[in-house]
Symmetry: C2
Subunit: 326 residues, 2 copies
Amino acid sequence: MTPPEPADVTRVTCVGAGVIGGGWAAHFLARGYDVTAWDPDPEAESKLRRLVDAAWPALVQLGLAEGASRDRLTVAPTLEGACAEAQFVQESAPEQLDLKRDLLARLDAATPPGVVIASSTSGYPMTDMQTEAADPSRLLVGHPFNPPYLIPLVEVVGGERTDPDAVAWAARFYDTTGKSVITMDRELPGFIANRLQEALWREALHMVANGEATVREIDDSITEGPGLRWAFMGPCLTFALAGGEGGMAHMLDHFGPSLKAPWTRLEAPELDRKLYDGMVTGCAEAAAGRSSADLVAERDQGVIDVLRATGRLPGQPVPGRGGAPS
Amino acid sequence: MTPPEPADVTRVTCVGAGVIGGGWAAHFLARGYDVTAWDPDPEAESKLRRLVDAAWPALVQLGLAEGASRDRLTVAPTLEGACAEAQFVQESAPEQLDLKRDLLARLDAATPPGVVIASSTSGYPMTDMQTEAADPSRLLVGHPFNPPYLIPLVEVVGGERTDPDAVAWAARFYDTTGKSVITMDRELPGFIANRLQEALWREALHMVANGEATVREIDDSITEGPGLRWAFMGPCLTFALAGGEGGMAHMLDHFGPSLKAPWTRLEAPELDRKLYDGMVTGCAEAAAGRSSADLVAERDQGVIDVLRATGRLPGQPVPGRGGAPS
């Protein structure tokens, strides 16, 4: 059996009631889908509804699809019930390999043949997760960024036993729902964006661990510095501009020799108590009294504003901002 | 002799007519300073004026200080002439240690006593650069981000022989000119933001070198993903939000074990011909016909839009965007 055409999908199943699973549910609801959710947590329904409610004002501002409604979220009491009529399944369970393996096998058993099942895993290759499933060919990774209802990127990649047609289908489906898809042709631990941000993140952990910078300094150094550029121009093109009219060639001529300078650390730090506490305390200080909800609202508003400001909200022309020459 | 109060400075000397030196000149001109520039290049004056002209529309949009004018740029024929009446000197010469050492000694000899001399170096510790100067106490690093006339961040740090008062003065002065200052209390190769972005950059180079991702995929993965967040919220607080209501603690509990997963490479790649060409070609492809000037204009407009959108342009309230709770 083949899956429905991506544009014909109306029902999506979201597994997992955490931040990512709830974020996916909010995304699909806002795009006008019926969403069935499941999580073994007895509090799943209230958690999910709270997550969706928190996301909704941002989604209203972005513009809801016709017919989109929070009332179209159903929380199923069983995994089997959640998957029985699914046209697409998004799994967002905790990052534990054994758990993912077993869960994906159960989802595969419960979902109609041919329907694609995507995992939100932030790091495991599907090859390692699809080992227990009867039909591994429809299992793939659809890795979102937080919050999935606002950040466009989804990295799509299959495992060794995934059907390339399933990968192509998922890419088209995500695209239909308004996501920005990068389809990878090979499994790479951490995918692309996570590998990049993980490199930065490890460096940040080292700096905190060694007392070289505080969480606030690290965050400020990004938001007041390179982060302002990365909202609309990636690190490669940004660095090319540092080469002036000579572009990347000049940049590499100029800075190439200093690439070997000891500018980043190489081993991940021990996540010992001191580092753990330093990060937790540092983040609390940086939050400066703002609650998690305050920060979520601030972040959401910021993403919308950045999207609008950089011309990526349809129908929202930016005064004075010219389009790219054709 | 002590330097003038930061608020009393009216004359700044910019040494170097490259992208960074020219960007600093544009910044100080826009803030209403008299700028004297010098560079040994016989084309220095035309290069500088071209750089300032390219930056000016963005600066007009940001709002010029009273009396600000491009006519207040003077290009001096000699280093000594450029420094004779300086109240602050910003050195932005090429990244070569011997060159920086000699140049800083010459600048020190030519500049009135007590006046602070800052280097834009993107990586050398001042301790290593101040070795030849008669008065190393006023030499320090003021590391900007490109373009210096738009990106607020300046990292300020002295060397072993730098007077802490000079460091404090420079931080106050940059702040007066509208920059966002991080004062570091110790020398750290690559400072803070560069260390972070260098980690990301090395990972990107590895991926291109290994054929794992293209320049465009790398750039898209940032601008469609984490880069959208980093324009207004740094990586630590962003990751804390991934922990949901449990914040950073939950995030570390959840993802801590996977920190050791092989998500980033550890050694810088050989910058061989293949990588070199791959980066250059990849950037040209990503530019898709846009000239360097087009990209600069696009980037500048983007930074302004992001600044405005995230409420960091004074007098530019963003519709629907609430301030942080007090």
